[in-house]
Symmetry: C2
Subunit: 412 residues, 2 copies
């Protein structure tokens, strides 16, 4: 049961000029399921991506990195679910290459102009013949307004499709940004993986786009955690088609700040949707850390709280368990933290309660106030470290019986 | 239900000459419960300790550090359960000081010769009057063979008392090492804390003892994890009375290696008992990492596996979920790890199964073999990183419904 999230209606996902999407049933692991998605890009698109830091990175991730480094003009993305093609060695790389080659032949482009993505069970061979056989049906299905269908086709254990879209006016042009994502955190490494695909019709110079995709990931997909695990296949791609006529050569270009903000907002929406659909989640938690010396230490504190099974089970129980939060702040790794300067608030849409200061419980804090906040489904833990001006937010969910049930029962 | 652990019988806990223990009911938080323990040390004992790295460290920990740094001869340890005296500010330090002062008056020693320890709920004031009022009964109870009673009196949420003892012959002398511990990981920061107290009648020079307590912690209490959280009050103390006549001035002293090994063995037994009694634990897991460039990277990999809720839920389900283990190795933070060189075995007392090599599933591996191992209650995940000679072991338990139940229900 996702926490305060519903898939946007098809008509609210604006097409992005220059990008068409098609889906098909290829029978990769299960029958009667759309499991293959193709994005075809017009000439002139720029593409940049960020990928998993996991040393066991999947074969398609290896090919994506190689094709982007080559600097060839990317003209297509192909995504399959069912099998992740991870932990599959040389034959896995060969299968990913055959996938690209199959797309290339159909679209009349070089296989190095194709980026492949896979998500599903790991350590199993990719049935590449079935995949390639399904590609013509994807090509037949290509349409600019198929974002909604694509959001469904890239799902694995997701309980609902995740998408976001917005239009903004920049420099007198209407700029569209639309994206889809999948994943339930990295709850299930065998059927998991976090994928995000975004496109805009803004024109963004290649180096600037590479910077923007990293910044957007840093504010969104890199700020979410369900259980601290990261997958072998995580990928986030940003496409800029340029067909709106709004062009941005560098970060100082007029209107770029507004574009950047809108791109990040869509990325955050896509990333948060993953947490809202986290396995067993009943609450959406924002850990907002401010007053740090730098962003890195704010993130450390955010992750210490957001990863703590003790904090997460307390949130599941609607228990304002201050001790667990303070303990997590204390072991986050800031060796010179002055605990007397730390302040902590629990807040919901209606309330903000100062719960801790001066190394312990706030004098005016009453547990019934904390309990009232904790009963909400959207809760912010705000932490002021009292030692600087940096800040960072982490998004996570609570830890329920269902989390253990889902992950213990899976495969068994 | 602890995993393969039973409290040793009273007669198997050998007294340590120079150390007497007494317990009493002080009514600190609950009635009819022995909650106060005193260790009285003869003159001539050396004492060293290691303490929590949590920045929110409790008042007694602050006093312990101060008294040890002063270099005064420690003559007593006092331990209360019920209230942790953490997050209690200046008045908490004052309460810890009054505790030491109370012990000092009774034993005719300076309060700086006393080390105080508290475990229980945090953010609550220590009822120091009741504590001090209970001290005379502890003094009346002082006996060298009261280790078993002390093991019980320091328990909080532990389901059973934890103790270990052994006698070894070194340099023609009989040396005794006895210890007690408490904690259920850091499952419950409000009622948690890991405490370990060990004593030997060997004579160990102060600097050597400080080194030994760090080394012993590093091989034992620092190698266990239930949920990755660390408490505000964690402490581990080693006392050397010298009354056996076996004396060790430095690490090169004859017989010291044997003494060191025995001390570490007792510490490991005490630390593992905490994991075996971990909240909701049904399995005891050893993550044995070898072939690293250094011990630190082996520990990183061990903790990545041992902290992963995905791995821990899979173990609960007896599921040999290779993908989760490989993914954890991959994100452990060794940026130049060659995954093709990594090998992984699952083993029980009866079996050792090579499950992964060359970046994926081992060619000869059959899942039924992995499943057979996973059904045991003692399981080792052995990882060879294939890049050096360093190694390290981490001890942990699985993650069950009961873990969530216990931690979500607690306080609610």
């Amino acid at each position: 049961m996702p926490v305060n999230y519903a898939t946007p209606a098809p008509e609210s996902l604006y097409p992005v000029a220059g990008v068409r999407l098609g889906v098909a049933e290829a029978g990769i692991r299960k029958l009667d399921r759309r499991d293959l998605t193709l994005l075809a890009l017009d000439p002139g698109c720029h593409v940049a991506g960020v990928f998993t830091q996991n040393r066991f990175c999947a074969a398609p991730v290896q090919l994506c990195r190689r094709h982007l480094e080559l600097g060839s003009e990317i003209r297509a993305l192909v995504i399959n679910t069912g099998v992740a093609n991870a932990g599959t060695g040389d034959s896995g790389v060969q299968a990913a290459w055959q996938t690209c080659s199959g797309v290339g032949k159909l679209l009349g482009i070089d296989e190095r102009q194709v980026l492949p993505f896979s998500t599903g069970v790991i350590l199993e061979p990719l049935p590449v013949e079935r995949l390639v056989a399904g590609l013509p049906r994807c090509v037949d299905d290509l349409k600019a307004d198929h974002w909604h269908a694509a959001a469904h086709a890239i799902m694995t254990t997701d309980t609902l499709a995740k998408a976001a879209s917005r239009r903004v006016q920049i420099n007198g042009k209407t700029v569209t940004i639309t994206g889809i994502s999948k994943g339930a955190g990295m709850i299930k490494p065998n059927m998991a993986t976090m994928l995000g695909f975004m496109a805009t019709d803004a024109g963004i110079a290649t180096l600037l786009l590479q910077q923007l995709v990293r910044e957007a990931a840093d504010e969104s997909f890199n700020c979410i955690t369900v259980d601290g695990d990261t997958s072998t296949n995580d990928s986030f791609i940003l496409i800029a088609s340029g067909q709106s006529g709004a062009e941005f050569a560098d970060a100082a270009a007029p209107g770029y700040a507004a574009l950047r903000e809108a791109v990040i907002a869509v990325a955050v929406e896509l990333a948060q949707a993953i947490i809202r659909d986290g396995e067993g989640a009943t609450k959406f938690m924002t850990i907002a850390v401010e007053g740090g010396k730098n962003r890195d230490e704010c993130r450390k504190v955010g992750y210490a709280i957001g990863h703590s099974p003790l904090v997460k089970t307390a949130f599941f129980a609607s228990d304002p368990n201050l001790g667990r939060i303070l303990a997590a702040i204390g072991y986050a790794g800031i060796s010179d933290l002055d605990v007397d300067a730390v302040r902590v608030w629990l807040s919901s849409a209606a309330d903000e309660i100062l719960v801790a200061e001066k190394g312990g419980r706030a004098a005016a804090y009453r547990e019934e106030d904390g309990s009232r906040v904790m009963k909400q489904s959207e809760i912010t833990v705000r932490v002021d470290l009292g030692r600087g001006a940096a800040k960072a937010s982490i998004y996570t969910c609570d830890f329920s019986y269902d989390y253990v049930k889902i992950n213990a029962d899976y495969r068994s």
